[in-house]
Symmetry: C2
Subunit: 243 residues, 2 copies
Amino acid sequence: MEILLTNDDGWGAKGLLTLLRVAERLGHVTVVAPDGARSGMSNAISVEKAMTLSLIEKTEAHDVYITNGTPSDCIKLAVNVIYTEKMPDLVISGINHGSNASVNVIYSGTMGACFVAAEQSIPAIGLSLCDHDLDADFSYLEPFIVPLVKQLLERGFPDGVCYNVNAPVGKIEGISFTRQSRAHWANEIATRYNADGTPYYWLQGEFVNHEPESHDTDEWAMAHGRISVCPCSIDMSFNARNL
Amino acid sequence: MEILLTNDDGWGAKGLLTLLRVAERLGHVTVVAPDGARSGMSNAISVEKAMTLSLIEKTEAHDVYITNGTPSDCIKLAVNVIYTEKMPDLVISGINHGSNASVNVIYSGTMGACFVAAEQSIPAIGLSLCDHDLDADFSYLEPFIVPLVKQLLERGFPDGVCYNVNAPVGKIEGISFTRQSRAHWANEIATRYNADGTPYYWLQGEFVNHEPESHDTDEWAMAHGRISVCPCSIDMSFNARNL
């Protein structure tokens, strides 16, 4: 199996290095990762700049490329420049340092890369751990990854659909297939002032879950120590499901 | 009615100036727009930089603010810094120079702003004309905007849902409620070379519609001279519609 990895924390992030070690048990791995952090980049693409792509490491088990682009650019570069003969069998994005569950999916660079893969009909899985720490502990999640990837490949990927997998911190009680919990971010701007009194603004936020009692959501699963596996579609149209 | 406008082509773009003139017929308008082009920014947010917000124009009919942020940042800044007492009644994003129909919705800064508004339970409409020209002709679309906005406000906005409105170039035959056509972009990378032979890459692409014969899609509507009105949900989970 040929596996393409990317992430939005950039090459060298602990989550990606963990994923690389695990993915090598499944097949040959090609990493195409941003050359630095690209958190909150959503599905952004570099329409107004030239992109770089540099092979920085090559072993029998893996090739590693870095680029100045976004996570979504990574997939486009890989598909069009590296995989000119045959598409990869699987894309895995992550492991992200921080949750991409609930409404976070629409802001996530990790998932943006998966959406590009889904557009190209390549099976894609986004992996995230609910811990923003640069030195987050992936040891509880790690043994679940290979069996979960195999299970999802057997289950199949409906057209335009990828999987958004989010794991809680600490001991894991099991795996749940979920839907996205309705939520919003509140109190999102912190105001600061220059020496001359001019205000400037930093993003912050408080997560507000609208349905904490719904047992079928990603947030509920994680609040109960379970890995959430949420199938996500690049078809955002509401009519498609409500005709 | 208090209306918040934004776009992804930046303040000064012809599409936004057209929309401003039209929106003033509906109520008081506040513009919070990027200070330059932010095409292809999707739902990206500025997690790693300080954002600016400057009031640059104030009349009885409208206030205009510009920011160094993304379209999605514009909504977050407006909601948290400007609308501290009461939310706007409506967000309109656009008029975008270029299509945001079909799979383009997941790359669109215009629609990213609408998704943030939908997250905050504010009615939001994204408007796009299928013409990338800086001097695109909005005159056919313009008379449809006020009646369409009134129709959508009467129809209502389901929770977490906004409208993705795309207009064809030229004479308009009518309006259709649609779903997102399945499509992908092919041949997406153009390779160029530095003087020393090092390659670099530009995004390009050929749009491939997977279902050109489906009469209920946004692409079909526009191919037949009609404005496509596609309700879009920030709930991307596939399970929500397939349990």
